[in-house]
């Protein structure tokens, strides 16, 4: 998705990530989180539940760093 670019490109408002690429990435992240959340609700092995929780945390991190309007942290998001 990226590569070295000159400073001048930035001032022209260009980004290596197009709007479409960003939207696609965010849609996939949301899908992945939904899948993980479904698994968490039925998982009765604490170890696996914790693995899923940490995966969800990192996916939230990716959403946040792509500028998505998400809660401050997974635990602070509305159900």
């Amino acid at each position: 998705m990226s590569g070295p670019r000159s400073a001048a490109d930035f001032w022209r408002g260009k980004s290596v990530l197009s709007d479409k690429e960003r939207r696609d990435a965010l849609a996939k992240l949301a899908q992945a989180r939904k899948l993980i959340q479904e698994m968490r609700q039925v998982m009765d092995l604490p170890q696996i539940e914790r693995c899923l929780s940490l995966a969800d945390m990192n996916l939230h991190f990716a959403q946040w760093n792509l500028g998505e309007d998400v809660g401050l942290a997974p635990e602070l998001e509305e159900e």
Binding site: W11, S15, V16, R22, F61, W64, N65, G67, A73
Partner: protein
């Protein structure tokens, strides 16, 4: 075997080019959305903030613009947190999350009095550590690098977060731990790290010690040295030259604040730092008028953190005086602090990585029987390290035979409270100069190039 990073990501000169170069209007729009969430969380979950905002007559829903946020939401200061934490340990009133979410506990050095207790969730600490990576990556460090940490770990968050940053980067980490300076050199000779992380003055001390051991520092093979905890190479050009020459490597710097975030990683152009705007919102306030200052002007850095959800920090006074710019030739749009921190709104100096406040020293001296209120703090440079002597006049009725004992009491009192060893010097009554107006307590004998801009 799969590549560690996909080739396109590996080629990037930015850690997150999308966010690091986001146009200002988009950054500000995101900040407004996120600041409202911070306010709502703090108001709903922290009794401290609910009371503070209620007293100011502000509700989270009243904030509709960044100007609203800056003007209506009251400032907070460390001194407000301390009495609450003493009454309700650890964070009974100031905290905002239940205990099961807390993963880390750190403390500030306590040099202004009691240490501030700082809780983090695991996620917030991940993000705290991530701040370092923007600086590491921007300067050229990659997952193939190996980092040597030349310090001990304790309740101070700074280098824990750096360690977390190395983990996020995906590089190898050597914790040097509690070695002697010579021990660090021997370990580095054997392990051959490519990056050294420590305070800048300690990096110079290590280089000097290596030479005294007959080891040419450059022979260790470092490519980079990276620093925090004291004014570093991007604040002090002479120090940058010295560090680079001492190790034959490229030095870098991060501006952090223990209770907030490793908030401003170094700019790759090496003359300042960029605020990590994924973690922190900041505006610059004229300490005299309380009004926001414009681009390129100097004022106090006021921050609100998105990564202190366990104990929110909102419109928090850092007391750091910075000169903020919104454009930088490196291409980043994140707020740029040229020269890092140019001075302090309070009287504070940093000795061996520990912030020493004049008021804290005064408090210790005032508690020791036989010590008068005449004292002076003298800063100097000894073997590339900042040192501070505390010159003290005894009360006139203290016999000179008791001076050594008095010196011992002063040294012990300062060390117990400030967690740093300062050299006490007992001078005869009347030896220190008297001033008619403002008493000059701090005498800075360090070369100008070792001082922050406003302290020169």
């Amino acid at each position: 075997m799969k590549p560690f990073l996909n080739p396109k990501a590996a080629e990037s000169s930015f850690w997150n080019q999308y966010y690091e170069t986001l146009p200002r209007e988009k950054l500000n729009a995101l900040h407004l959305v996120r600041l409202k969430k911070v306010l709502r969380h703090a108001y709903d979950h922290s009794p401290f903030y609910r009371r503070k905002l209620d007293e100011a007559g502000v509700r989270p829903e009243d904030i509709r613009s960044l100007d609203d946020f800056k003007r209506k939401v009251p400032l907070t200061d460390k001194s407000e947190f301390l009495p609450f934490q003493d009454e309700h340990p650890h964070y009974g009133v100031t905290g905002a999350l239940p205990e099961e979410y807390l993963a880390m506990h750190y403390e500030t050095s306590g040099t202004t009095g009691s240490p501030l207790r700082v809780p983090f969730t695991l996620y917030d600490f991940e993000r705290f550590g991530e701040s370092w990576v923007y600086g590491f990556w921007g300067l050229g460090m990659r997952p193939q690098d190996s980092f040597y940490f030349a310090f001990q770990f304790g309740l101070f968050v700074g280098f824990w977060s750096a360690s977390q940053g190395v983990r996020r980067l995906g590089a190898k980490l050597y914790h040097g731990g509690g070695q002697t300076t010579e021990g660090h050199i021997r370990l580095m000779q054997r392990l051959r790290p490519t990056v050294l992380v420590c305070t800048p003055t300690y990096a110079l001390r290590l280089a000097e010690t290596a030479q005294s051991m007959g080891v040419e520092p450059a022979s260790i093979g470092l490519k980079y040295t990276y620093h925090a905890g004291e004014p570093g190479p991007f604040a002090l050009p002479a120090l940058k030259k010295k560090l680079d020459e001492a190790w034959g490597a490229t030095s870098g710097e991060l501006l952090g604040m223990a209770e907030v975030d490793s908030m401003a990683p170094g700019c790759p152009l090496r003359e300042g730092v960029h605020l990590n705007e994924t973690n922190v919102f900041s505006w610059i306030r004229d300490p005299e008028t309380g009004q926001e200052v414009g681009d390129g002007q100097m004022g106090e850095n006021i921050v609100t953190s998105y990564v202190n959800n366990a104990q929110p920090l909102i419109n928090y006074r850092t007391h750091d005086l910075v000169e903020r710019h919104y454009r930088c030739d490196c291409g980043r749009t994140w707020a740029y602090f040229r020269g890092v921190v140019l001075g302090r709104t309070d009287f504070m100096v940093t000795v061996r990585g520990t912030n020493v406040y004049q008021s804290a020293v005064e408090k210790v001296l005032g508690s020791i029987p036989g010590v008068s209120h005449h004292y002076q703090l003298v800063l100097s440079t000894v073997r590339e390290m900042d040192e501070m002597a505390v010159k003290v006049e005894p009360e006139p009725d203290v016999p000179s035979a008791k001076y050594p004992e008095l010196a011992r009491l002063v040294e012990e009192g300062l060390r117990a409270t400030l967690k740093v060893r300062l050299e006490p010097q007992i001078v005869p009554p009347g030896a220190l100069p008297r001033y008619e107006l403002k008493t000059r307590r701090i005498i800075d004998e360090r070369p100008p190039e070792r001082r922050r801009l406003l302290e020169r």
